[in-house]
């Protein structure tokens, strides 16, 4: 199921580099982002669009989810990006600068139109909505609910902090508020919450600490800007043995209760609610992806 797939890491690949486009999926990221937006200078927008279109046509990406970060429809490049990219049916587009539900609806309508005109089943291409402003932050819930295409919420740390007037720091306390908003909105809508990038590609310890922190906050994954960051984030998104052990017991109790047709699940004398079961499922999925469950499932 598209919405539930693992997205521990989403790797940005600049749309201007043919070699990197060809090799985008070999680094083991769960999702790749072929970038037409901020990673591409304005004079090269058309060149990148052609390169990414050709990559989608001809490169056999295996294993990874393929997404394209298009330019916002409010820019002069957005529509052309949609026209070239949507007919090739990537798994999703990453829609930047989402301020409100209208931004998502506008994209959704245009995508449906292009899909129908190019023989792609309507609704095929998903949307990962990116919020980069105070207003977008406030509207996250309606953004998440604006279209069934939305599979995940993401935010742009640099633009967001600039917009609210915060200073970027290594500790990242300035992101506490947007992170909380993204997680809550995502959970309400039943979609994934994806964290922003960690900019220092040489600081692996800092990256690990931040990735671990956001996983514990509830995020499903994190964007990365260098392949070297991928194994570090995957390690942070690998549940501990205690977590795995508890999740297994939750799932066992759940299966046992289901087989009896019991509505109430109990573990160690405590009630287990649906969200706890959902979390246990997620932990086991992460554990499996990390290779912690050989031979199971």
């Amino acid at each position: 199921m598209k919405a539930k797939r693992l997205r521990r890491t989403s790797l940005y690949i600049p749309g201007t580099n043919p070699g990197m486009l060809a090799n985008a999926s070999v680094y083991g990221a769960d999702s790749i982002i072929l970038d037409l937006e901020d990673g591409v200078p304005v004079p090269e927008k058309d060149a990148a669009r052609i390169l990414v279109r050709n990559a989608l046509k001809s490169v056999p990406y295996r294993g990874a989810e393929v997404t394209v970060r298009v330019n916002a429809l409010s820019t002069p490049f957005g529509r052309d990006d949609f026209r070239e990219i949507i007919p090739l049916a990537p798994d999703a587009i990453r829609l930047p600068k989402c301020e409100s539900a209208d931004d998502v609806r506008e994209a959704d309508a245009l995508m449906t139109e292009i899909e129908l005109n190019s023989g792609v089943e309507a609704g095929t291409v998903g949307i990962i909505a990116i919020t980069e402003s105070a207003r977008g932050g406030r509207n996250l819930s309606e953004i998440a609910a604006a279209s069934p295409r939305v599979i995940a919420l993401n935010y742009g740390a640099e633009d967001y902090t600039a917009d609210i007037g915060a200073v970027r720091t290594k500790e990242g306390r300035e992101l506490d508020d947007i992170r909380a908003k993204v997680i809550v909105a995502a959970r309400i809508a039943g979609v994934q919450a994806l964290d922003s990038v960690f900019g220092d590609v040489n600081d692996m310890e800092g990256l690990y600490a931040e990735a671990l922190r956001v996983r514990l906050l509830g995020f499903d994954g994190k964007s990365v800007i260098h392949p070297r960051q991928i194994p570090v984030v995957h390690r942070a998104f690998t549940p501990s043995e205690q977590e795995i052990g508890f999740a297994r017991r939750v799932m066992a109790a759940f299966r046992e209760a289901s087989s009896r047709g019991a509505g109430v699940i109990a573990l160690d004398g405590r009630m287990i609610d649906a969200p706890v079961v959902a979390r246990a499922e997620k932990i086991l999925a992460l554990a499996e992806a990390a290779g912690c469950l050989p031979g199971e499932r």
Binding site: A22, N23, V26, Y27, G28, V59, P60, H226, P227, R228, G291, P294
Partner: protein, 501 residues
């Protein structure tokens, strides 16, 4: 007295004559002798003393790599002396030696028996030589000299440090190159040996690599090399993510191979992927608390660090790649210089490659039978020597070939390699960024590597994956003219390289 031995009485004159100087044994002459020793004023004089004539075979070593000034210098002198028709027998030639092509055109040089890297190989590919270049591995070159198949009349040995009697060392001087491993062969088997140095040190040059017993003359010159082209500064592990992925796969394969235990030994070159693979293996050795026995072959600063960290007991150094390796050879007890014969000669009484657990080697092409080409590029041009590739592959318990699946638009996994350098029978694993193929002959390895998170694929599927990106390019067409002969380490001919049409 053994039967048949003739008794010769010594005449009184020869008792008074001391050694080759012909001087009488008087107090001041000893000091003078140490100073004068075997020094001759110029290369030209040395060549005259060596009685160099048309058609002779002249050899060189390649420890100064692309910084070497001696090969060009010697050939310019020989050309000026009017010598013609020489056979050149270098252990390897580099791009700096492009200059000698004019001596080929003018008839000073007739042919080459030795590795050619770059422009000389390209010229050979264009049919410049009247007879084919004979390519041998590091071990194969020693074997050929030992067997008398390659007879060297005069060896000209660049020496970063030498004393007047011809004790030679590579660890000091402006052109320090560390190990003189490949030069031992020339010193041992050539009829005449001329040392060329820009760093004459007082007698005796201890520690020496090549002893005075093998050297005829010593020629001091202004400079034998360009230091920054001889050894590199610290070789850094690549940041190219694609190469890092390949290196990570290699480390994983090594870890799960069944060979990764105490006493583990390995050889990995100084190429980007190899260095990175060593770095990852190093981390895994630390994590697993494994203490290895030795690293062999070309030694780098990274190997030195692993020695100093106690991860390996010793380094067997046939050539030193960077300044750290040179310094370590001079100071570390566990860091030993080895000759090419010790390293890789199958006709010796035992060579180091046979003691290796793991060898990580490169390729320009690999085929469906796991044959490896390292000599010719995808366009069929001879651009590289063999090095120790076929020796190490044959000796190591597990030979791992590393290559990106494609370079530019050319697939690196093909139906048949253009040139077989190293036979598939001696190749065990091919590691690319998109998949790892194990030679079906190695069922034991395959068992060990299965289910360990290594992206195992059939070699045919790797080829197909490459072709999804590149298509199947046309192979170049070759005529009948043989421009190169690839000799296997035992002296048999494993392949020939033909001129393109």
């Amino acid at each position: 007295m053994p039967p048949g031995r003739k008794v010769t009485t010594m005449d009184t004159d020869s008792r008074k004559v001391f050694f080759f100087t012909g001087e009488k044994k008087v107090i001041p002459s000893i000091g003078k002798k140490r100073e004068k020793g075997k020094i001759v004023a110029s290369l030209e004089e040395a060549f005259r003393l060596a009685d160099v004539r048309d058609g002779m075979t002249i050899s060189f070593h390649h420890h100064l790599r692309d910084g070497d000034l001696v090969v060009n210098m010697a050939l310019d002198v020989l050309a000026k002396m009017g010598i013609r028709d020489l056979v050149l027998a270098p252990s390897a030639l580099f791009p700096v030696h492009e200059r000698l092509l004019r001596h080929v055109r003018s008839g000073v040089i007739r042919s080459i028996e030795g590795s050619v890297n770059g422009p000389v190989g390209r010229a050979a590919s264009e049919g410049l030589f009247s007879s084919p270049v004979i390519l041998r591995s590091h071990g194969g070159r020693v074997r050929a000299m030992q067997a008398g198949e390659l007879r060297v009349d005069v060896a000209v040995l660049a020496a970063p440090a030498a004393d007047a009697m011809g004790n030679l060392s590579g660890i000091s001087g402006p052109s320090a190159c560390g190990s003189l491993g490949y030069a031992f062969t020339d010193a041992q088997y050539a009829d005449r040996v001329i040392a060329v140095t820009d760093n004459l040190v007082s007698y005796p040059a201890v520690p020496f690599s090549i002893p005075q017993t093998l050297v005829d003359w010593v020629v001091p010159v202004e400079s034998i090399g360009v230091p920054e082209k001889i050894v590199s500064g610290t070789l850094r592990v690549t940041r190219d993510p694609l190469r890092l992925i390949i290196a990570e796969h290699v480390a994983k394969v090594v870890e799960e191979s069944g060979l990764f235990t105490d006493g583990f030994s390995m050889q990995a070159g100084a190429g980007g992927i190899s260095l990175a693979a060593s770095a990852f293996i190093r981390e895994r050795m630390k994590a697993a608390g494994i203490r290895g026995s030795f690293i062999s072959g070309g030694i780098t600063g990274q190997s030195v660090e692993m020695l100093e960290e106690g991860l390996f007991e010793s380094l067997l150094d046939v050539q030193s790649f960077d300044l750290e390796a040179v310094a370590s050879l001079a100071s570390n007890r566990g860091h030993a210089e080895m000759s090419a014969s010790f390293y890789a000669n199958t006709a010796s009484k035992g060579c180091a490659v046979d003691m290796l657990d793991v060898a990580v080697l490169g390729a320009t092409q690999v085929d469906m039978d796991f044959n490896v080409n390292v000599n010719t590029e995808s366009d069929g041009v001879l651009l590289h020597g063999i090095g120790g590739h076929m020796d190490t592959a044959a000796g190591a318990a597990m030979t791992v070939i590393v290559t990106p699946l494609f370079r530019g638009r050319m697939p690196m996994i093909v139906d048949s390699v253009l040139t077989v350098t190293t036979p598939g029978e001696t190749v065990d694993v091919v590691v690319t960024e998109r998949g790892v193929a194990v030679n079906p002959r190695r069922k034991d390895l395959l068992e060990n590597l299965r289910g360990k998170g290594i992206p195992l694929m059939e070699i045919g599927d790797l080829k197909k994956t490459a072709e999804e990106f590149t298509g199947i390019p046309k192979t170049p067409s070759f005529g009948d003219n043989v421009i190169g002969i690839v000799e296997y380490r035992d002296g048999t001919i494993i392949d020939t390289i033909r001129q393109r049409i």
